[in-house]
Amino acid sequence: MGMTMTEKILARASGTPSVKPGDVAVVDVATAVLMDMTFLPESWREILKVHDPAKVVIVFDHLVPAPTAQAAAAHRTGRAFAAQFGVERLHDVGPDQGICHAVVADRAYALPGTVLVNGDSHTCAAGAFNCAARGVGGPDMLYAVTTGKAWFRVGETIRYDFTGRLPDGVSAKDIFLTIAGKYGAHVNQNVEYGGPGMASIGINGRRTLATMGTELSAEFVIFEADDALVEYVRERNTQPFEPAPPDPDAVYRDRRGIDLSTLEPLVALPDAVVNNSVPVSEVAGQKIDQAFIGSCANGTLDDLAAAAKVVAGRKVARGTRLIVTPGTQAIYRAALKAGYVETLLDAGAVVTPATCGACWGGHMGTLGPNETCITASTRNFKGRMGDPSARIFMASPATVAASALAGAIAHPGEFFRGDAA
C-alpha cells in the first residue's frame, strides 16, 4: 500500500518500512526549535543533557526586544543554555533574529523529508519545505532536546490539488480562508498540498498556507517539493536531504481540487478562524481602529510588497493605525532595500522590529476595549490581540492595507487591476 508524504517521512524517521493511520511513530528529530517563552523563569525546567546540540535551534521571538524584566531574564537563561551546550544556532536580538518559523524559512533549517518540532503551535509553517513539522508542548521539547526523539499518532490525510493560478490581488491567505470556510477543522488529520497549480503559489505563499494549517487543527501540513523548493533549500543549507513525494497509490481520507483562478479576497469574521469566511463585499465599510500585517503567517517579503503596492503614494486614513511587522530582521533589511519600508512609512504606517508581539496580544500593537482590528496574522480568537471586547477580522495583507487606507474594511481589487499575478 502506498504512503502519503506524512506517512513516508514518519516511516523514514522511525526506521520502519511503513506506517499507517492508527500507528504511533517514535521518530528521530532532525531539528528541534526552542523559542524564548521556553526559558521564562516560571516555566523553565533545567536541561541536564542535550542529545545533539547541532540539531537544536534557539530563537527569541515572542518577547523581543524584551518588554519586561522577566522577558530579559528568559533571554539570559536561553543564552546561558546555548553557551553551556554549544548550541551555535542562537538567534538573539540583533540582525539574525526573527519570528522562529520565519527564521527557519529564511535559513532553510527545515530540510525536505525530515522531522522538525517546536514548542510554538504554528510550527507546521515548515511544511512548506516538505518537512513533517509539528507544534508540540513544552514536555515534548524537553524529550526531543534530551533524547533526539518525538512520538506522533499517525492520522489520516486529506489531499488538496491546486489547478490554475490566482487572480491579481488574491493571495495565499485567501486560499486558506477559502479552505477554512468550506471545509472547517481537520482534527487528527494531515493536510497535504500539491497539484499543477502549486508552483504558481511561490515559496512565500506556501509558507502562509502551511502556517495557517494550525488553525485547521491539522496534525501535519506538508507541501510537495518542486524544483523551486529544492533550489531554495540548496542555496541556504549545505546539509544533504531527500524530499518525500507521495506514492501514486497513497491512501487519502479525501482528495479535493481547488481551482485557484476562481478565488476572491475573503475575510474571516471575529472570534473563529474556521467556518467563518465571507467575501470582502459582505463586510466592506465596517470601520476599523487598527490594521495589522505581520506574524509567522504574513510577515514575508511578498506580504510587505503587497502592502507597499497598495499604499504607495496614498495615506492611511486619519484615526486608523497601520502596523506592519516583518517576519525577520533579514526580511526587514530586504524590504528596506526594495523601498517597501519607505513606501509604508510615507503612507503613515508604523514598521516594527520582527516579533510575535501584536499577533498574540503581547506588545507592539495590542488592542484596547471595544476596538476593531483587521489583521493579516494567525488568529482572531476573542482576546487574542488584547482586550476581550476587541473585534478581530482576518484577511490578506492586500485587503488589510486597502482597509487601512479607507479606515474601514475594503476590497483590494482596484490596486491590482491590469497586473500580472
Binding site: 500507528d23 504511533v24 517514535v26 517563552m37 521564562l40 523563569p41 516560571e42 523553565w44 525546567r45 533545567e46 536541561i47 541536564l48 543533557k49 522577566q70 531574564a73 539570559r76 537563561t77 546561558a80 514548542g119 510554538d120 503551535s121 507544534g135 508540540v136 508542548g137 513544552g138 514536555p139 515534548d140 524537553l142 524529550y143 534530551t146 533524547t147 512520538w151 499518532r153 492520522g155 477543522a185 482534527v187 487528527n188 487543527s217 496534525e219 473563529a272 498574540w360 496580544g361 480568537f381 482576546g383 487574542r384 476581550p388
Partner: protein, 175 residues
C-alpha cells in the same frame, strides 16, 4: 494499572471548540503552575473552580482543546479534574494530556449521552463510558499502550527526571 482503570465523577458539560485560552488565559502564561490552575475557565464559567470537586469530569464536544501549545491539560490535572471525555480532542491538547499525565479520551456520542451533574464512569480496561443515571454505555476510543502508560504514569517529565535528563522542578535555576 489496577485501581487506576475504573474512574467515576460528576459531569460538567462543555460545548465544541473549547480553546486552550479558556483553560489557561494568556496573562497567566507568565505565572506559576499553581497560579495557572486557579484560572481554569474563569472567563467563560467562573463558578467551575468554586463548585467543582476533585475527580469531577469534563464532557466536551468537537475539537476540544483547540489553540496553542500552552499546558492547559496540566492546569486541568492540577485543579483536580478526574478525566475528560470529548467527541474529538485537538491533537496538540492530546499531546499535552499524555505528557502531563492528564486523562483525556475521545468518546463519540458523549455530548448527547450526558447531562450536567450526571455521574460518568470510565473503564480504561473495557474502553467504555457509562452514565450511571441512564445506564447508557458508550465506546471510548482506545489510546495506544505506549501513550496510555505515559498518561497514567504521570506524564513524560518524571521519566526524563529519573533518567537524569532534566532537573527536578524545584531545583535552583540560575538566570
Amino acid at each position: 494499572m489496577s485501581g487506576n482503570n475504573m474512574l467515576a465523577g460528576r459531569v460538567w458539560r462543555f460545548g465544541d471548540n473549547i480553546n486552550t485560552d479558556l483553560m489557561l488565559p494568556g496573562p497567566y502564561l507568565v505565572r506559576s503552575e499553581e497560579d495557572q490552575a486557579k484560572a481554569v475557565f474563569t472567563t467563560n464559567r467562573p463558578e467551575f473552580l468554586r463548585e467543582m470537586r476533585r475527580g469531577d469530569v469534563i464532557i466536551g464536544g468537537f475539537n476540544y482543546g483547540m489553540g496553542s501549545s500552552r499546558p492547559a491539560a496540566r492546569s486541568l490535572r492540577n485543579c483536580g479534574v478526574g478525566f475528560l471525555l470529548a467527541e474529538t480532542i485537538n491533537g496538540l491538547f492530546f499531546r499535552n494530556s499524555v505528557n502531563h499525565g492528564f486523562k483525556a479520551f475521545e468518546c463519540p456520542g458523549v455530548t448527547q449521552a450526558f447531562e450536567e451533574g450526571d455521574t460518568a464512569e470510565l473503564s480504561i480496561e473495557d474502553w467504555t463510558a457509562t452514565n450511571r443515571r441512564t445506564g447508557q454505555t458508550l465506546a471510548v476510543t482506545p489510546v495506544p499502550k505506549m501513550l496510555l502508560d505515559m498518561m497514567l504514569g504521570g506524564g513524560i517529565l518524571p521519566v526524563l527526571e529519573a533518567q537524569g535528563l532534566i532537573a527536578p522542578r524545584h531545583a535552583e535555576v540560575s538566570t
